[in-house]
């Protein structure tokens, strides 16, 4: 294992060389060819550089509706067979992300210390151009049908690399998913293209508020309708990448349409963004947002004049957090197995003892439980079926078991688990967020 570690270290000395190796593999794959990715990406690299700069202010304006129906991805058809296989395309994407996740893992310790992801890693992530796997064809993406299980798999694999970075990297893609799933025609036309540029816009979902027993269904942030604008007041916290975001999808209780989400420009008057230290997830650069009489045009309500079914929006966020939890817990399991086999006490590997071995067996049992409930909820969502109950139960289970697994990960390493030379203490801190956070991720 030590040897492998060294090998990896060597590789990361030449990040671009290895990167291009696998990225080109990806582009040359059957999958990319079928979907014409190379052509598309070349075109957009060009157009991206041409138009790339004006992204930041996209949100500050009125979203004109052409009274067209917004573009929605079709529900995925299935063969009516119980089937847990990923498609060949999904496996291809999975491999690509797994390779990137290795870099995330190698960088994780440093990022945790410096509270930000370095630019080169960001660039590498951007070059994966995951947006194409989310955006409908009409807007230049590759998608016709919903791909919630693909999104789940991507988030899971990213979180296998590092939970905090996964949250940071997927923050923007979550906003994109939300706009594809819920945006009005005007919002889609204005906001989606920026996500396919070479250096795509960052935006972030802001729902959590700093209050005990927080519920996304009981918000203190209020949006009051006055003629053509909503006036928003309140505080949001643990918002990932808020300082890097151009705008937020921010939840507030309206006086006419229940709880809704608003597209709020970061530079709006009355909005202040302050960095916030948290137990973990350092890579995600959490911030607190304070809104004092922030005015947004009424067309900036997500979904347009009628708003959206807010509970469905939340369900996709919870699903995302389940996928993050599964990925990170898999990382814990894969870390403790070689550790317990290599660590000697009383003359033999500690894994020869049932007390240790059974803990690891339980990590596996509960991890598979988390995974299968998450898969079921995602598969139902993808097929356009009601998945409220499934995602609720998946989240209940993931919230409880992932913290157990995080805690046992530290326990299994004993004193080593408690020191920052080993990743398990970071996973312990990161996993505590799963049952708390709604922000940031949306499948």
């Amino acid at each position: 294992m030590v040897k492998e570690e060294k090998k990896r270290g060597k590789k990361s000395d030449l990040p671009y060389a290895t990167y291009f190796e696998y990225y080109n593999q990806f582009l040359d794959s059957k999958f990319a060819k079928t979907l014409n990715l190379r052509k598309l990406s070349e075109r957009f690299v060009y157009e991206g550089t041409k138009n790339g700069i004006k992204v930041a202010n996209a949100a500050s304006k009125v979203f004109k509706s052409n009274s067209k129906k917004p573009e929605r991805l079709d529900p995925q058809k299935n063969t009516d067979l119980f089937d847990l296989n990923y498609s060949d395309e999904q496996k291809m994407i999975q491999q690509t992300i797994q390779q990137f996740a290795v870099k995330m893992r190698n960088a994780a310790e440093k990022i945790d210390d410096v509270f930000t992801i370095d630019e080169s890693l960001w660039n590498e992530f951007n070059e994966l151009q995951l947006g194409y796997l989310q955006v409908p064809e009409v807007f230049g993406g590759m998608m016709k049908e919903k791909s919630t299980t693909t999104q789940m798999m991507m988030v899971e694999e990213l979180a296998y690399g590092d939970l905090g970075q996964a949250l940071a990297f997927f923050t923007r893609h979550s906003v994109l998913n939300a706009i594809v799933n819920f945006g009005s025609d005007g919002q889609q036309a204005d906001l989606i293209p920026a996500f396919l540029q070479e250096n795509p816009a960052i935006a972030s979902i802001a729902i959590n508020e700093p209050t005990p027993l927080f519920s996304p269904y009981e918000l203190s942030t209020k949006a009051e309708k006055k003629e053509n604008v909503y006036v928003i007041n309140g505080i949001k916290n643990i918002v990932p990448l808020a300082n890097k975001s151009a705008y937020f999808l921010l939840a507030a209780e309206t006086n006419d349409k229940g709880i809704q989400l608003f597209i709020v420009d970061k530079n709006s008057k009355g909005l202040s963004v302050n960095p916030e230290r948290t137990m973990g997830l350092n890579a995600a650069e959490m911030c607190e947002l304070t809104l004092k009489n922030v005015e947004v045009d009424s067309s900036a309500m997500l979904g347009g004049t009628d708003g959206i079914a807010y509970n469905e929006f939340i369900d996709y966020c919870k699903l995302g957090w389940c996928a993050l939890a599964v990925g990170c817990c898999q990382a814990v399991l894969d870390y403790v197995i070689p550790y317990a086999n290599d660590r000697y006490a009383f003359g033999e590997p500690i894994s020869n003892r049932q007390a240790v071995a059974f803990m690891i067996a339980d990590v596996k049992i509960e991890l598979e439980s988390m995974r299968i409930l998450t898969q079921r909820a995602a598969a139902k969502a993808e097929q356009g079926l009601d998945f409220e109950k499934e995602v609720y139960l998946a989240h209940v289970l993931c919230a409880e078991k992932c913290m157990q697994i995080g805690s046992n990960g530290v326990q299994l390493l004993g004193g080593h688990g408690f020191v920052r030379d080993f990743p398990v203490e970071r996973w312990y801190r990161d996993l505590r967020a799963v049952s708390i956070a709604v922000n940031g991720v949306h499948l």
Binding site: L81, I372, Q375
Partner: protein, 399 residues
């Protein structure tokens, strides 16, 4: 990716659920109270089943897991999954009664797993129970002391077997015995001993915590004379293959036992929700820390149950598609059995003295569920199997 039960199995599921409600539930308490009384109602039911099973993809009970051809590269949902769906629906009725259905013994699973073609045909109408456990050996089945000595065309069996489900009612018992104690596991063979074979004596029926409808026998074999052609599989002692042959039975049946647990869990959760309906409001939205304690308990039980149910279907799906599933079979058995035991006890608690009373079946399910975490490999044995697999340990390293 799809995790819903395919439409083609809805028919069997509905049939089994109706049978569970109309045949099993009405007599559930009766045979719990009258332990050791034969549930005659099942004879008629079994006759109907056997007719139906001849033509269906999956049979009801644990008897057959027909081998289908899956080499076409397509995804298959076959007999293993159908069996799991069936067994769960039946055990939603009553797990003790399911274990008592004539013709559906665990021995039948053993026969279908290791018998040769001639034996399969000869025993196709036999109701076979399974005899492994001995007074001094349970989970460690390699330590069995019952012997089989060959003389001419017969084997002579000597030893005592306990915990034989349907040991009195079945037409035959599949007995594990060793050809040579010195050689160990590899010398263990299974023999079909038909009822009435000289030297086979039923010594008692156990009185139990639960599944009282199912009879559990102890049988002593004294110079019991069994025809040589009743030895299942190969009579040779193959040191390399060793235990593999006989253990295959368990890879096949662990998801079925998990399904039994899932059925009991489903019944208990459903009844608990009915009894509590005026006191709970489940919206599947409010965060779990913001709901009543009883609501939170129910959410947790439902989440655990769904996980167990889906993990069981996963193991069955893998078997149907010829993917090696020994690990997944143990995972689903470990998960389903332990959560069912915990949650049936919790359901009794939530329903207070009503749950504790014979006026409801909740207390019965809480008693029945305990065996599910014990037979076909205890919780701890499943954990051992899982841990050895994950850590790549032999049984000598991880004891």
């Amino acid at each position: 990716m799809n995790l819903e039960i395919p439409k083609k199995f809805k028919g069997i599921q509905n049939f089994a659920t109706i049978a569970a409600k109309t045949i099993f539930r009405p007599i559930s308490r009766k045979y719990d109270v009258e332990e050791h009384t034969y549930p005659v109602e099942l004879d008629l039911f079994a006759a109907g089943l056997n007719g139906m099973n001849d033509g269906s993809e999956g049979s009801i009970g644990g008897a057959s897991s027909k081998k289908e051809d899956v080499s076409d590269g397509q995804v298959h949902n076959g007999g293993n999954m159908a069996n799991c769906i069936n067994i769960q629906a039946m055990c939603y009725g009553d797990v003790g009664l399911l274990l008592s259905i004539p013709g559906q013994g665990l021995g039948n699973s053993a026969i279908s797993a290791v018998a040769n073609t001639e034996q399969l045909k000869r025993f196709s109408k036999t109701w076979a129970a399974m005899a492994i456990t001995e007074p001094n050996c349970g989970s460690d089945s390699s330590a069995i002391t019952t012997t089989a000595r060959k003389e001419g065309d017969f084997y002579y069996l000597n030893g005592e077997k306990i915990f034989i489900t349907s040991g009195e009612r079945a037409n035959a018992v599949v007995v594990w015995a060793t050809l040579d104690k010195e050689i160990g596991k590899a010398a263990i063979k299974s023999f079909v001993v038909e009822k009435g074979t000289p030297g086979m004596q039923l010594v008692r029926l156990e009185k139990k915590l639960g599944i009282r409808a199912s009879d559990t026998a102890a049988i002593v074999f004294t110079e019991c004379k069994v025809p040589a052609e009743n030895l299942l599989g190969s009579p040779e002692i193959d040191i390399k293959k060793g235990f593999g042959g006989v253990m295959e039975t368990f890879d096949n049946t662990r998801p079925f036992v998990a399904s039994m647990a899932n059925g009991v869990a489903e019944a208990a959760i459903e009844r608990t929700k009915e009894l509590l309906q005026d006191k709970i409001n489940l919206d599947y939205k409010t965060p779990i820390n913001n709901v009543k304690s009883v609501e939170a308990e129910i959410y947790k039980m439902e989440a655990e149950y769904e996980a167990a149910r889906l993990l069981t279907l996963k193991a069955a799906w893998m078997a149907d598609n010829r993917k090696p599933n020994s690990l997944e079979a143990s995972i689903c058995k470990a998960k389903a059995a332990r959560i069912t035991n915990q949650l049936t006890l919790k359901c009794v608690e939530l329903c207070s003295s009503l749950g504790y009373s014979y006026n409801e079946l909740l207390e019965k399910w809480a008693r029945d569920s305990k065996i599910l975490d014990i037979f076909e490999g205890t919780q701890q044995i499943q954990q051992l199997i899982i841990a050895r697999r994950l850590l790549r340990k032999s049984s000598a390293e991880l004891k």
